[in-house]
Every structure is written in C-alpha cells, then in structure tokens.
C-alpha cells in the first residue's frame, strides 16, 4: 500500500513541478500541459540514430527513471509512510544516485552522436567534483541522528531542523543535489546553448518522454532527500505529516527550478575547481563542527 501511495505522491509532485516549470518558461499556468505533452511524446515518431549502441540507447532513460524511484523508496513522507525503512537508508540513497552517472554515460554513448557523448563525459567529470558533496553532508546528518535510518534522521530533527543545526551542510547538499539533477546552472550534460541538448539531443518521441519524466522525478527525489535530511521531514504544525513532507519537497524543487532561471550556466572548470578547493574543505569543516556539537550539546 505504501508503495502505491508514495508512487502517486511522486507522480503528483512531478506533475506540479512540470506545471510550475511551464509557468516560469511561458508565463502561462496550464495544468493540463504536462499531460498533453506526455501524450504528444507518445504520438510522435521515435527516431533511432544511425548505428547506435542499442542496449545503452534504450536502457538509459528507463534506468534513470528507476534510479529516481529507487532513491525515493527510502525517503519517508510520514513516520510510517515509507516504501522501505532500511537500516542503511541514507547509504542506500547514495548508492542509488550513483547510477544517475551510469544512466547518463549510457545516454551519451548509446546514440553514437557527438553532442550526446560530450554531454555524458561532462557529467562524469562533474560527478568527480560534486559526489563528495553529496556523501559528506549526509555523513554529518547521520552523525547527529546516530543512525542511517531515514525515519530516525527525521526524528532527530524534532525541535531543531538540520538546516539550522548544520546550515553549511544544507548549502553544500542543496548545490550538489542541483548538480546531480543536472538542473541549471549545472546543466552541463544537456546545455542547450552549447550541446543542443547533449544527452537529450538524440532522443525523440516516447524515449524523450521517459527521459523528461525521469529528470523531473530525479529532481523530486533530491528535493525529498533535502527535506528529509535538513528540513525536518514531516515535522510541522496543524497539517498531517505527509502534507508537510510534500509541501517542503515541492518548495525545494521549485527553488531548484528558479535558482537556475536567474543564473548563467557555470563553467565546467570553475565547477570542478570550486568543488575541490572550496566545497570539500567546507564539507570536512561541517563534519568537524557537527561532531563537536554532537559531543558538546546533549
């Protein structure tokens, strides 16, 4: 039952995010647009490039979607509303998200096209830079909760959310999450102005529809992870727990969307330099500060 509810919540959030995305792009609020766009993708010709790596080409969009849903499986909407309350939930989400890279490399290599391939390799380079900024802030979150169980992590924030307890970790995780979801200004693998769509460039029809659905689902999963790790998960007054989780998740997802709208795409070299020389030392500092707080403050 939990599986169905979480899946419906995930789809509903994706739909809302797509509506907001359309609103910011066209200036018109059209609730039916995502559905119509999806149907249009189903009806369009799905072109296969010449001499593709067929397995990679076909698998990549589906793999990205599976990865996004797997990540969401360990993120609770309410104390009992989680698909899998694993003892290693925080670790599992890291493992699941690692496959985003695999999916994008496959989407880049599969079509046998230059733009897609550069996009895929770019994401690999990017990952080396920000992967630590996903893992290290989660480590600090788990230190405070003294557990990797995501429901326990939310429980540890009763009274004081991690965004206040470890604001540095929140900033680093939020930025790295945007990069992992390849949202602007970190959209280097797709970069319409540089690569004509990059890893998306050779996909059409239903395959492109799945790829877009997967991208939006990934954004929601990462926004949900931010909510669980830093924004107190389901905690909040008056409304039921699941409602707070959804509201916070959507707020984070929309802020990811808007942040990219008002910033130019970051240079690849700058992203890597800043991650290595600034991000990782700051993430280490965050772990030390949280460690001291855990020891000093009961």
């Amino acid at each position: 039952m939990n599986f169905v509810i979480v899946l419906v919540a995930l789809l509903g959030s994706v739909w809302l995010l797509a509506v907001v995305e359309g609103w910011t792009t066209t200036g018109r609020l059209r609730p039916a647009a995502p559905l119509l766009s999806g149907l249009a993708h189903l009806g369009r010709e799905s072109i296969v490039p010449r001499t593709p790596d067929r397995v990679f080409f076909e698998t990549a969009p589906v793999l990205l979607l599976i990865v996004a849903v797997l990540g969401a499986a360990v993120l609770p909407l309410a104390p009992t509303l989680v698909i899998a309350d694993l003892a290693t939930g925080a670790l599992f989400i890291n493992a699941a998200l690692a496959y985003v890279l695999v999916a994008l490399i496959m989407a880049g290599w599969g079509p046998n096209g230059a733009y897609a391939m550069i996009g895929g390799w770019r994401f690999l380079g990017q990952l080396i830079a920000y992967a630590m900024l996903i893992v290290m802030p989660i480590t600090a979150v788990a230190m405070r909760a003294e557990s990797l169980v995501t429901t326990v992590i939310v429980g540890s924030q009763d009274g004081l959310w991690n965004i206040v307890y470890q604001p540095l970790g929140f900033v680093l995780f939020f930025i790295a999450a945007m990069a992992l979801a390849f949202r602007a200004p970190f959209d280097l693998p797709t970069a319409p102005g540089e690569l004509g769509g990059g890893v998306d460039a050779e996909y059409t029809g239903v395959r492109l529809g799945v790829l877009r659905l997967a991208r939006l689902t990934l954004v929601i999963t990462l926004a949900s992870a931010t909510t669980v790790f830093y924004l107190g998960g389901w905690h909040g007054p008056l409304l039921p727990p699941w409602a707070w989780s959804l509201i916070k998740t959507l707020a984070v997802a929309v802020s990811m969307l808007l942040a990219g709208r008002y910033l130019p795409r970051i240079r690849e070299a700058d992203l890597m330099r800043w991650c290595w020389t600034l991000g990782i030392p700051l993430a280490l500092l965050n772990i030390i500060v949280v460690g001291l707080l855990v020891l000093v403050v009961p």
Binding site: A114, I118, W121, Y262, R265
Partner: protein
C-alpha cells in the same frame, strides 16, 4: 594500448585521443541561424575551428543587369534582417551621393535616430542570444521583451523605457557567475587587424567577452542619450534622385561595426556596387578565438563577436 593509440593525434597534455570534427549550426540554439561553425574537438577541448556563413550576400551585381535604385535599397535592407535600417540608410546615402544630392540636416537627424534605435534593439537581441547560449533564461526573456518593445516604440516611448534598460545593466552587473563565465574568454591576440564596432572598442579595454558585454550595454545608454537629445526616428527613405548618374560612397556605423558601400549609378539605376562589412572581417577571427579553448568557452567567444551571417559578404 600503444598499438591502439600510436597513430592518434596528441592532446596538449600528451594524451592520444580520437579527435572529432563536429558541426555547430547552421541551426543551433547557441548561435545565430545561418552561421556554421565546424570545430575539431579533442574531448571537451577545441583544437581548431572555422566559421562560414550559409546565407551571406555575394559581393557583385549580376553581369550587365542594372537595378532600379529603390529596388536596390529594398534588396539590401531585406538581405540584412538583423540590421535592415542600417543597410537601408547605407544604400540611401550612397545613391544620394552618387546622384549629387546635398545633405539635409533634418533628414540626417531623423535617420540617425532610427539608426540608434536599431543599435539598441540589435544589442538587446545579442543579449537575448547570449542568455540562450549561457542557459540564462531570465536574461533571454527580459532582453527579448525589451527588444520587441524598442522595435515598436516611438521616440517618447523609448525614453520611457530608459529606466528598464538601466535596470537591466545594473542587474547584469550583480548577477553571480556571469563575470566568471565571460571574463578572460575570447581575447584576441594583440595587433589583430580588421576589428570594428563594439568588438574594436572593447579591445581598448580588456578585449574579452565581459568587456564586449559592457561595451554594448554602454552603447545602449549612449544611444538613448542621443535619442533623448535629438528627437523622433525616421526610417531612411530615398530622396528624389531623378535620373542622376555618378559614383557614390557611404559608410555607416552599424550595430556590428562599420559598413561601406560604393556604387555606380547610371540614369537612376545601380550599375554595380561593392559592399564591405564588419562581420566579413570578424568571421575570420573565429579560428584564433576557439583554438585551445574548452567547448563552452569557445562558443561564448564566438557569440561575443555578435556575428550576423547575413552580413558576411563573399
């Protein structure tokens, strides 16, 4: 491994890689339509590149075929869709000079205002294109909206838009990441000849994409000040030249740089002409700008030249 890579070209770091020749354009989101950029890529780096226009004019009139002066003006203006007022003015001036007409200060003033309006609109169009290239959606939307308003605006309405244009410039100055994206990109080697327009004027400063952005923003403000001091724009219209004959030359500072036109007029018909434009020279700079750069930087460098493929004369 050595067997596999022994004949492959070497990157700057000594690694053997497969190099790819990749076309960007003639229809590509980050470049003006009609411009084809061919880059040889070593991974995400550019080893060499060249740009060609697929829509530029041919610099000669058809053998023995004379063109009516009015038709010539229309053809030239419509052949340059990104600067039609500038080239209309250029053709009018050259024909009027060939016909021996004296300058008329009122007409010149109205034409100059129209030229400055086009300069503002053109620079805003470039900003919108740059926003598209950089994935900066807000800039694309804002600059494109202002460009449309400027194109439709009267002199009075233009002045009402002044605060919005100042606000745009101020906002760009405050935008995080923009400076780091453009600073140091697209610097031309010292002593590069053939520069004109904003590219040449920005070369006096840092000579990079960031300097070119601010040069164009400064020109927008300067043009607004000129319009404020002068009056209403008047679209260049050919004065009565009768069946005049002679040789005429004219130069106009278009939004992308200097354009020169010389022509021979016989009995009110253009017999032959020669056109020289800034973009015809600037397109040759692409190879120097892209070599050894990362792909993203190379495209930004090319974009900062504001090449109009229609204004490349072959």
């Amino acid at each position: 491994m050595i067997e596999v890579t022994k004949d492959l070209p070497r990157s700057a770091d000594g690694l053997a890689m497969d190099w790819m020749k990749v076309p960007f354009g003639p229809v590509f989101p980050g470049l003006p339509g009609g411009l084809k950029l061919t880059l040889t890529l070593d991974g995400d780096g550019v080893t060499e590149g060249q740009a060609t226009s697929l829509v530029g004019m041919i610099n000669e009139s058809e053998e023995g075929k004379e063109i009516d002066a009015e038709t010539f003006i229309e053809r030239l203006a419509s052949a340059m869709p990104l600067a039609s007022v500038s080239y209309r003015l250029l053709a009018c001036l050259a024909i009027e000079r060939a016909a021996g007409l004296e300058n008329d200060s009122a007409t010149d003033q109205a034409r100059a205002v129209a030229l400055e309006c086009e300069r503002i609109a053109s620079h805003l169009g470039w900003l919108a294109q740059t926003g598209r290239q950089l994935g900066f959606a807000w800039l694309t939307d804002r600059a494109a909206t202002l460009q449309l308003e400027i194109r439709r605006a009267s002199g009075k309405r233009l002045l009402e838009l002044t605060p919005a244009l100042h606000a745009l410039a101020a906002r760009l100055g405050r935008t995080p990441l923009l400076k780091s994206r453009l600073k140091g990109i697209g610097i031309l080697p010292s002593g590069t000849g053939g520069l004109s327009g904003p590219v040449a004027r920005a070369a006096d400063d840092a000579g990079d994409a960031w300097a070119r952005l601010w040069q164009r923003l400064d020109e927008i403000i300067t043009s607004l000040d000129y319009i404020k001091a002068t009056g209403e724009p008047g679209l260049p219209v050919l004065r009565n030249i009768g069946r005049g004959s002679g040789t005429g030359e004219a130069t106009v500072e278009t939004p992308r740089g200097e354009a020169q036109l010389s022509l021979i007029l016989e009995h009110g018909q253009v017999k032959s002409y020669r056109l020289d434009t800034a973009c015809s020279h600037h397109i040759g700079l692409v190879a120097k700008l892209v070599e050894g750069r990362e792909l993203g930087d190379a495209l930004v460098a090319v974009g900062s030249l504001d090449l109009s493929p229609w204004e490349v004369i072959s």
